[in-house]
């Protein structure tokens, strides 16, 4: 383990973390404000990835595809909100989990029918496929560096929106006390639609950025969804700050799982380390979540006074 390698893994953890953050930010807002458990958030990520890939192959321009895919995902999100989710706000979490579980099945098959079951081809545009020298001896993928920058930019933007604007004021108010919103004379229905569309667009952005590095295929949403839930639960539901901290934490823990085996190797026999290492690495983030919740049942940054 050299210092450079550790720096590189920190970058990897950060990159994975901001990716999770983009998903988590939308989910945690929808959660915090509308009290909606939306398992179909992963489907919006998938839709974002598919739309971006589709537009990219049609237009040949990654930027143009991004510009088209984001509003398109936003529209899909709003349609889903209007058609299916609106009636769920007053329901309990159980109904929400099940109905949105149903939406997952629907979206996965819909995508399979429209684009086929085979994964879609997509790759990095040439101008993003190079490497930058981060430190002497450490080259890092331009694209992944861009993902980190975009993720951090979105985090700052979100922080500004939430802490400096009227919309953000409403969001904060809604997250800590829903009934207050209608008392303030806010058009709650509209606010919900806006926030949901906003969350969908963020998930779409994550999907868009995931396209060139992951497999764009049906079911891709669920693979990341559970980790995103881990993130927001660790961070504290409804808290953007919690989502960011949780995402970076999970990204780092997951990435540094690669060191579990070599470290175990120093205390256990190589055979035992070989079999225990990967198993522990797979369980790390869930272990992290269990420990956090055991100590702080409301996550690291609870938004609601208990």
């Amino acid at each position: 383990m050299t210092v450079l390698l550790i720096v590189e893994q920190v970058l990897n953890g950060l990159q994975y973390g901001v990716m999770l953050f983009l998903m988590a930010a939308g989910l945690t807002l929808v959660f915090g404000i509308m009290n909606l458990v939306n398992l179909a958030h992963g489907s919006l990520y998938m839709v974002g990835a598919y739309l971006a890939t589709f537009f990219y192959t049609q237009t040949g321009s990654f930027l143009l595809a991004a510009l088209l895919a984001l509003p398109a995902t936003l529209v899909v999100g709003i349609v889903v909100e209007l058609v299916a989710l609106r009636t769920l706000y007053e329901r309990d979490h159980l109904d929400q989990v099940l109905a949105t579980f149903g939406l997952i099945l629907f979206f996965n098959e819909l995508v399979a029918i429209v684009w086929g079951r085979s994964a879609l081809y997509t790759t990095l545009p040439a101008w993003l496929s190079g490497h930058v020298v981060v430190l002497p001896g450490l080259r890092y993928s331009v694209y992944r560096a861009l993902v980190i920058l975009v993720g951090l930019a979105v985090a700052i933007l979100l922080w500004l929106v939430v802490s400096r604007t009227r919309l953000g004021m409403l969001i904060r108010a809604g997250a800590s006390n829903r009934t207050m919103l209608s008392a303030l004379g806010v058009n709650v229905t509209l606010l919900y639609t806006v926030v949901f569309g906003f969350g969908a667009a963020l998930a779409g952005l994550a999907g868009l950025m995931a396209g060139p590095i992951y497999a764009v295929q049906t079911g891709m949403g669920e693979q990341i969804l559970i980790q995103v839930f881990v993130v927001i639960v660790i961070g504290g539901i409804g808290s953007i700050r919690g989502a960011l901290v949780g995402a970076i934490l999970v990204g780092m823990v997951d990435t540094f799982g690669v060191f579990v085996k070599p470290m175990l190797g120093t205390v256990l026999s190589p055979v035992a380390a070989d079999s225990a290492g990967p198993a522990i690495a797979s369980m790390l983030i869930y272990l992290l979540m269990a420990v956090v919740l055991a100590l702080r049942p409301q996550g690291l940054f609870p938004t609601r006074a208990s």
């Binding site: 050299t2 994975y16 996965n108 079951r117 994964a119 993928s141 992951y214 295929q217 070989d274 990967p278």
Partner: protein, 392 residues
């Protein structure tokens, strides 16, 4: 909820439940189990397409008899596969059960079928148990035993004198089998052996570790979407030009159009390739492309072979489907035109066949394709047949 909605909901339910499958008639009945829904459904689609193509080539008859194929979606779950097998045996009363992509589904299904006295023709999964201690007179496969393919890669790399190899696979049974199969013929020590999470999406952390270990070659097993992700990320990391990548079951005709250049130069071993020069294969490949508009993949070739093998058996007993012994004897001869060319069956009913080294190259039309470079093994036997007590 209104009364009308309730009635409508119950009504729909009643209709759907009542619409059970139709009555059976006397003809050859084949139950074909594969994964049709979910992400793995793409493999099932290729297998199903190839079964249909085989039936087209046989004039929609098997062994001269009318045929009915009942498809089942195992959802990649062993218990669902087992239930489908029960349904096919007991309800549809099929004469053959075929298909099965996954080792775990196969291990649940095959004994169920054979213990009912019915023939099981596997067309993909090749778990070592069924080649060894659990081998059965009524179980045949038209694919391979899992370990054979990595064994071929191990042998090739040893023959080339490649050292300092770094191996990676997902952390599950097949992943570990693949690495141990590889090591069986590679023999030299690996400089790294890494198991990643099953279903992992991002391999950047592992690729950073790999780069730091600075091996001379990398051997991986990453099937399905894991392969797509790994290949993209490996190429994006710039390692493609620096460290050659060798793999098994990672690049195929399903993933190639998805990763394209990211797979350029990739080495794979396999028993079959679309460019195998024999009449049966050329007919299969060209008709498949004509009918379905895409390249076939080995999953399909095996399934096509499965139907052809059944056809040869039914033909040999002159349509007497009760003559199981006769059909087993006929199948042991592998007397049909296989897409891989001629092969023979080992005592454990697993093929003794050639394995080739393939490489992803730019084809004549500019698109990427797998091409055979050389033969690594001729008439290769699997490592487990001695544990099988069957004699014939």
């Amino acid at each position: 909820m209104t009364r009308i909605m309730r009635v409508a909901l119950l009504g729909v339910l009643a209709v759907v439940l009542a619409a059970g499958p139709a009555l059976a008639q006397e003809k050859v009945k084949i139950g074909f189990i594969t994964s049709l829904s979910g992400p793995a459904g793409i493999i099932g689609e290729h297998m199903k397409n190839s079964v249909e193509l085989a039936l087209d080539h046989l004039g929609r008859k098997v062994g001269g008899l009318d045929v009915e194929v009942i498809y089942g979606d195992d959802q990649r779950k062993p218990d669902v596969g087992k239930q489908l097998a029960d349904e096919m045996l007991k309800k549809h009363k099929v004469h053959f059960v075929s298909g099965i992509i996954w080792s775990n589904v196969m291990l649940a299904v095959a004994p169920t079928v054979t213990s009912a006295g019915t023939l099981m023709i596997g067309t993909n999964a090749g778990p070592h148990q069924l080649a060894g201690k659990m081998c059965n007179e009524l179980y045949f496969t038209t694919s391979w035993q899992n370990d054979q393919t990595p064994e071929a890669m191990g042998k090739y790399m040893r023959d080339q004198g490649i050292t300092d190899v770094y191996a990676m696979a997902p952390n599950y049974a097949a992943g570990k089998d693949m690495i141990s199969g590889f090591k069986r013929y590679f023999e030299a020590k690996l400089v790294g052996e890494v198991y990643t999470k099953l279903g992992q999406q991002d391999y950047q952390a592992e690729i950073s570790q790999l780069r730091a270990a600075n091996p001379k070659a990398v051997f991986v097993f990453y099937p399905g979407d894991m392969g797509i992700q790994f290949l993209k990320q490996y190429a994006q990391s710039g390692l493609r030009e620096q460290i050659p990548l060798y793999s098994v079951y990672t690049v195929d005709e399903i993933s190639l159009p998805v990763v394209k250049e990211a797979a350029l130069g990739q080495w794979e071993t396999r028993y079959w390739s679309p460019d195998l020069k024999n009449a049966a294969n050329q007919k299969y490949v060209s008709d498949y492309k004509k009918k379905y508009g895409k390249m076939p993949v080995f999953y399909g070739a095996q399934s096509y072979d499965g139907i052809m093998l059944i056809d040869s058996a039914v033909r040999a007993v002159k349509g007497d489907l009760s003559n199981t012994k006769g059909m087993v004897a006929a199948m042991r001869k592998a007397d049909y035109k296989s897409t891989r060319g001629t092969y023979t069956y080992n005592v454990n009913h697993h093929p003794i066949q050639n394995f080739y080294l393939l490489r992803a190259v730019k084809g004549a039309g500019g698109q990427l394709e797998m091409q055979i470079q050389k033969t690594v093994f001729e008439n290769h036997k699997d490592a487990y047949y001695k544990e099988c007590g069957m004699k014939w």
